[in-house]
Amino acid sequence: MDKKGKSNMPIFKEIRFHGRGGQGTVSAAALMALAAFEDGFESQAFPKFGSERRGAPVEAYVRISSTIIRAHNQVYTPDAVVIQDVGLLRSEPLLRGLKRGGLIVLNSEQNPGGEDDNFRWICLPASQIGEHHLGRPLPNTVLLGALAANTEWVSLSALEQAVTNHLASKGETLVKANIDALREGYGFITQAEEVMA
């Protein structure tokens, strides 16, 4: 994808990631922002501020924009929500503020009753896929792939580059495994008729 062509398109997107402490939620947000940056966009990623407790619900946010991002506020009305653990649905209002037509990328084999026509649901068994590639049921890169495939906000090659750079210090094996996971996630494209601009 042509970087310049991409960056000339005026866009502003906000994404919210939900997960648990220890699931790589903040890393997922960082990778998304890194990829957008690779693609020539301005981007920003940050966690929900506070101390992270292992197993406790965690949130992280991403902004992608064709113009400079100056505000440092939290994200309140996201264009997409990525849910790394379907168990969170029982307690957290995960869809709060999500825009009409917004995308929900959910780590689950089945759609847990999201018949709401206001949103687009992408459900995929990301933990299983993650475990297959990484040996641990880490869903984050898989979900990123699915998010990318269903939005075209970032390119797959940029995500791969982001993974390569971000995880370089962890060794080539881990980079490769994550890229494989990412690619498999990228294969999950929505049944819906069109992708969001």
Binding site: G21, G22, S51, E52, R53, R54, G55, A56
Partner: protein, 332 residues
């Protein structure tokens, strides 16, 4: 009464936000339940304080106060003085992490002990600053990876040794100082109960594994703390007025590797030459502690095997309720 509180008070109750498998939450629950709700608890800043008092909700069912990081022992001194002035004998208990004991809190602690305040100071030792995301403290053992003692080209983790705080405390010639860990509940119970019978300043250092900072499976908190003792790296000792009066003998000395392997904080030591040197160093440290406290040949019945053994309250094998017994149905 809530059925949750039938067999114990639950001074530290549910709904707190400790990480899954938190050794400190477990230790604090054990200690505070042994002491009970008729006491005043002073908490230093740290995980325990943060996860038990989240946003207008408290997990404590006893009077409890937190001030700042460094001053818990001094606040306790004041509480104790006030109670004395008012003619009350309510026990006063400080709870602090290793940061609030070994490092930033040491000065106030030393003052409290020297002045002879009738306070039990409990240190939940998880060997680093976990609340802020795993930075090394002076309690962090040699060669451990933390975010401020990272392994790298020039480093194999923490360069310095774990501070021998029990000796420092005992050197105050105070009535009672002891080490314990969550793995040996009968031992912990005996030490808390003994401490509560003694007047004057008392000190308990309780090894409390942190699944996040030690990077072990959350289910292994008890197992890992048991191995810390069985390898000799964390001797369980009791000192009265500066004199060693008891140790938990090791029924069997385990190699330190058994303790180190399940913990990610030692992972960098395996598979490299420089790491191997540190592994030998850690083994030598364990051996030296065993020799120093006579952990293998102490003349005591109390050893790591006896202290493990579960009480057998009821009979086991109520398998007669198992579906295998078709007779139950057919005979009726």
């Amino acid at each position: 009464m809530d059925k949750r509180d039938t067999f114990r008070h639950n001074v530290l109750t549910s709904g707190h936000r400790a990480c899954s498998g938190c050794g400190e939450a477990m230790a604090a629950r054990m200690v505070t339940d042994l002491i009970g709700p008729d006491a005043i608890y002073i908490n230093a800043t740290g995980c325990l304080q943060v996860f038990t008092t989240h946003n207008q909700q408290s997990a404590w069912q006893a009077p409890w106060i937190h001030s700042v990081f460094a001053n818990a022992a001094a606040v306790a001194s004041g509480v104790e003085a006030a109670l004395r002035a008012k003619g009350k004998d309510t026990p006063v208990v400080v709870q602090a992490g290793d940061g609030g004991t070994f490092d930033i809190g040491l000065q106030c602690l030393s003052g409290m002990i020297e002045r002879g305040h009738d306070v039990l100071f409990v240190c939940y030792d998880n060997e680093a600053y976990m609340n802020t995301g795993v930075q090394r403290s002076s309690s962090t053992p040699h060669a451990v990876r933390t975010t401020t003692s990272p392994p790298g080209r020039l480093s194999q983790g923490k360069h310095h040794l774990k501070k021998d705080v029990i000796s420092i405390i005992a050197a105050h010639h105070m009535p009672y100082a002891a080490t314990a860990t969550i793995a040996y509940f009968p031992d912990l119970k005996a030490k808390v109960e003994k401490a509560m019978r003694i007047q004057g300043p008392r000190f308990l250092q309780i090894l409390s594994p942190c699944p996040l900072g030690w990077a072990h499976d959350s289910a292994l908190s008890v197992t890992v703390s048991r191995l810390a003792v069985e390898t000799g790296l964390f001797p369980l000792v009791e000192l009265e007025h500066g004199e060693l009066i008891g140790v938990m003998r090791l029924a069997e000395q385990k190699p330190v590797e058994e303790y180190l392997r399940p913990q990610g904080r030692f992972k960098h030591l395996f598979g490299t030459k420089t790491g191997a040197v540190e592994l030998r160093h850690l083994q030598a440290l364990a051996d030296a502690r065993i020799r120093r406290y006579g952990l293998l040949d102490a003349d005591t019945q109390w050893d790591t095997a006896r202290a493990m053994q579960s009480a057998r309250h009821g009979r086991g094998g109520y398998a007669s309720s198992m579906p295998a017994s078709e007779e139950v149905k057919n005979d009726a």
